[in-house]
């Protein structure tokens, strides 16, 4: 029998206010094998740790149970304390009597009883604990950034700056993301392209950065320091290495009626295209949905005009496999679809546009060369109505429950720019609240109201009706003066809610990272670990984690890079010794475990065994690679015979805990 020490923490009043810690220490002191049981105010403090260390030496303890907070908080603290006192750190067990007990109960008697039960379970487990030794696993000194918007570009540049190789995987033909589509940026009103494109060029020129454009992550295997990623390089029907980006093919292409997604479908492009002038890489891409050569084998103009012979109609998707030590997710956002918002007549009236469409309408590289014209009749709008919170802060299932955060500021920007350039235009903004926290943000908004005389009206737009004379009837309520307003507008601009990119969810599954109910990636700790996911080695950059403006996105991109660099700097990381192993005498070789292993840690060998009747037999048995195994335990439950077991969390340990709880 182990000699076990039990240490019950008060955690100030966090535990002691709801759990009678003295009673817990007293009760657990009578459990079999327990030679010392004490309580203390802060077990994680230096003196608290010394209490544990001294007891280990004085009572020659073979196992330690700490009744305290979640093992996520201080398991490591106490393991280290035990190790410094000469006890194997894996002989320490934590009974979580804070998060799983004191914090969720109000009644002292109930909480105390539960704390004792949790303590008993930990004691039952520690009786069966065995000393474990960690191994080291090497770190691949290369990072993967998924998404090539401003978040991904910033992260990649910073990682490259530290001297590590980094790959960017971008699903579009060019990096740049949403920022490339934006006209001006708040609160300084400098041109987005002017500040973004130098970074794009820098990324393409940096010797440490490889850009996989028009590519998607297909499969992720492995673990922190050692991910194996399959990347699908989609066929663009143009040889990237040969194309010079001269654009002759795009000019000569006879198929010119393809909706231009870069300009939000407000104008057309050719079937072979370069998304925009500053695209990186500046390489043409053929759209197979429209290319007549690819669709019915008739055309081939681009191939004829290309002087370097870069056009390749037979190109196929290619899958490449790379190893990475760290992965940064920067999948960004999209405006939500407006199908459920018929009241704003978005689908009926071309002059009802989204804010991102307005960006393109106002941009010099946009469909109108920078002159703001109505999409329907190309005339100057004289009355423009902005509607805030379209799909944001919704309590129904149509929209999103959260605030999209950026809309108040970009709407102020739009209103200001329009009033500046076209002073004869009346601009109305309907809002629920104007939210402008941020450096120089409120000053910016006040300028729109005070200096540019934008009409800010608190209230929501109820209905938008296109009229026969080309005007758009806007029916709204002014909540401050409590009256109904009817405005005949020339254009209506909807500040549409933003949501995570649709590729994020399947990616989260591949990465085994968590998402919240809105499909934003969940950070490891909302306050203290905002750029790490709960999965080791996976970091979060930009709007994939929550709505963000550009300054915040860049800050988070750099922060994620710092975390990734911290990992890549290490030559090796300590592996978790709680890995699976197979009892070969019981193994059926059935492959169930191998099928459920998310890390590919299990292989099979044919091995000769001595059988009971003095014969030998070759049997197929499972073999676990402990360097790859992450100790998730999926194999132990898939194994029909119980041959698979997990060190530190063996079937018998789990059953002992259950028995102790159910007694």
């Amino acid at each position: 029998m182990q000699r076990i020490g039990v240490f019950v923490c008060h955690c100030g009043t966090n535990i002691a206010a709801t759990v009678d810690v003295k009673a817990v220490a007293e009760a657990l002191g009578h459990e079999p094998g327990v030679v010392i049981s004490q309580d203390y105010q802060y077990m994680c403090s230096e003196s608290g740790q010394n209490l544990v260390k001294d007891a280990i030496k004085e009572h020659d303890l073979g196992g330690v149970v700490i009744c305290s907070c979640s093992p996520r908080m201080h398991e490591n603290t106490f393991r280290k304390a035990a190790a410094s006192a000469g006890l194997n750190p894996y002989l320490v067990e934590i009974a979580n009597i804070r998060e799983q007990c004191s914090w969720i109960h109000k009644d002292i008697a109930t909480a105390t009883e539960k704390a004792i039960i949790l303590g008993k379970a930990a004691i039952a487990k520690v009786h069966l604990n065995t000393p474990l030794t960690s191994m080291e696993s090497p770190v691949v000194k290369r990072a993967l950034v998924i998404g090539g918007g401003i978040a991904g570009i910033q992260t990649a540049l910073d990682i490259a700056e530290a001297g590590f190789d980094v790959d960017i995987v971008e699903k579009q033909p060019t990096i740049g993301g949403k920022m490339a589509q934006i006209d001006k940026t708040f609160p300084t009103l400098d041109c987005a392209a002017c500040i973004l494109t130098p970074k794009m060029v820098e990324a393409s020129q940096n010797e440490h950065i490889t850009i996989h454009s028009f590519s998607e992550v297909e499969d992720v295997k492995g673990f922190v320091g050692n991910f194996t990623v399959k990347i699908r390089k989609k066929a663009r029907y143009v040889d990237e290495t040969k194309c010079t980006g001269c654009g002759l093919c795009t000019e000569k292409c006879p198929m010119k009626k393809v909706p231009n997604e870069f300009n939000m479908g407000l104008d057309n492009r050719s079937a072979v295209y370069i998304p925009f002038a500053q695209a990186v890489p500046k390489v043409a891409t053929i759209d197979p949905n429209y290319c007549m050569m690819l669709k019915n084998g008739k055309c081939g103009v681009c191939s004829k005009v290309c002087s370097v012979g870069a056009i390749d109609y037979k190109q196929q998707d290619r899958i490449i496999e790379e190893k990475y030590g760290a992965i940064v997710v920067a999948t960004g956002f999209n405006p939500i679809k407006l199908d459920k918002y018929d009241e704003f007549a978005y689908n009926q009236c071309p002059d009802v546009v989204t804010s991102l469409e307005l960006e393109r309408l106002m941009n010099a590289a946009g469909p109108n060369g920078g002159t703001l014209l109505r999409p329907s009749d190309k005339t100057h709008p004289h009355t423009i109505v902005f509607v805030q919170c379209v799909g944001s802060r919704c309590d129904d299932s149509k929209g999103k429950p959260y605030c999209s955060k950026i809309c108040c500021m970009y709407t102020a920007k739009h209103a200001m720019l329009i009033r500046e350039k076209y002073p004869d235009t009346e601009v109305y903004v309907f809002y629920i609240d104007v939210r402008t926290p941020g450096k120089n943000f409120d000053e910016f908004y006040r300028r729109a109201v005070e200096q540019y005389n934008v009409h800010y009206i608190k209230g929501m737009v109820g209905k938008v009706t296109p009229k026969s004379d080309g005007k758009i009837g806007v029916q709204a309520s002014d909540l401050l003066s409590n009256e109904q307003l009817h405005i005949d507008a020339d254009m209506v601009v909807l500040a549409v809610a933003i949501e995570p990119d649709k590729t994020a969810r399947p990616l989260a599954t591949m990465l085994t990272t968590q998402m919240d109910t809105n499909d934003f990636f969940t950070e490891a700790h909302p306050k203290l670990r905002p750029v790490e996911s709960a999965t080791a080695g996976i970091f979060l950059s930009g709007a994939c984690q929550g709505p963000k403006d550009i300054p915040e996105t860049v800050a988070q991109g750099s922060a994620a890079a710092a975390k990734a660099i911290g990992l890549l700097c290490k030559n090796s990381i300590t592996c978790n010794p709680c890995t699976a192993h197979s009892n070969e005498l019981m193994c059926n070789g059935c492959s169930s475990c191998e099928k459920v292993c998310p890390y590919g840690a299990i292989t099979y060998i044919d091995k000769e065994f001595r059988m009971p009747d003095r014969t030998t037999a070759i049997r197929r048995v499972a073999s676990v690679n402990p360097a790859v195994c992450q100790g998730c335990g999926a194999c132990t439950v898939a194994c029909p015979s119980g041959a698979m077991d997990l060190s530190g969390f063996s079937n018998s340990q789990i059953m002992a805990e259950v028995d102790a709880i159910c007694k």
Binding site: L585, N588, C590, K595, V596, S641, G642, A643, S652, M655
Partner: protein, 323 residues
Amino acid sequence: MQEAMIKRAKELLADGSVKRVIGWKRGEFAYDITPAVFESAEELDKDFVFDDFTSANVSKYLVKESKKEGKVLVFLKPCDTYSLNQLTKEHRVDRDNIYVIGIPGGPKLDIEKIKAKGITGILSVKNDNYTLKIDTLYGEETMPFSEAILDKCASCKSKKHVTYDELIGEDGDVLDSDRFDMVEKLENMTAQERYDFWREQLSKCIRCNACRNVCPACTCEKCVFDNPNSGVENKAASDSFEENMFHIIRAFHVAGRCTDCGECSRVCPQNIPLHLLNRKFIKDINSLYGEYQAGADTTSRAPLTDYTADDCEASIVHERGAE
């Protein structure tokens, strides 16, 4: 049919293609058929039998027999071929060392149903154009063939051989069976009714282990019920729920692997409808993850040991469980 099978087995033994033959032989009584291994033409002539009572699924014997020196010939009914495929998939048999002759399936007869008619002293049972002529110590009795069919044959799921090296007779098709009807009935009961149903059934168990021993999915090197370290091994029931747990654990162990061959219920001396537990799993897997038939092939991944992005969320499964 029996003659054709013996003839073909003799040929294969004679030319050295196979060393052994797995089939059936008669036991104490005419209807008391048992699986058997034959190693010579003489043994085949003497004992090999194939009739309306040769219902036993012999695929499980291949776990041992296929690993011995030389090929083994096995006669498999359609339902048995599913079991062999599943065993092949799980690497429990050496398929290359097996020569499968597919033979027509049932319906086979259930002697208990004949006895239940009060017919005793049975000497032989003959099928005369779907009327059973039963020769007994007390004279000849008759009853309709259809009333003596094994339950597992009455809800036959397939007449198609999913694996074979040659066929005697013709191959059939996968059938539209009513095999989930009873499961549905159980699902429509209240939790208490269902609990009472299973308590009544499972409490009849005498823990003879026949269901486990006959089950082609139960081929573990060391069964958890024989392993003192597993925590569920038990020689004597310690409380009145022990045998209930045995069946529940067993159903979980074969979940996603059970081909629904029905042998468990056929061999149960207490007539517990054990196959219903397995069918509930099969039905649930079908509805949650899409149609899946264990043993239909040797390569597909079983839903319970596979993950796809389309898998239903745990919350959906949870909601279904709500009463």
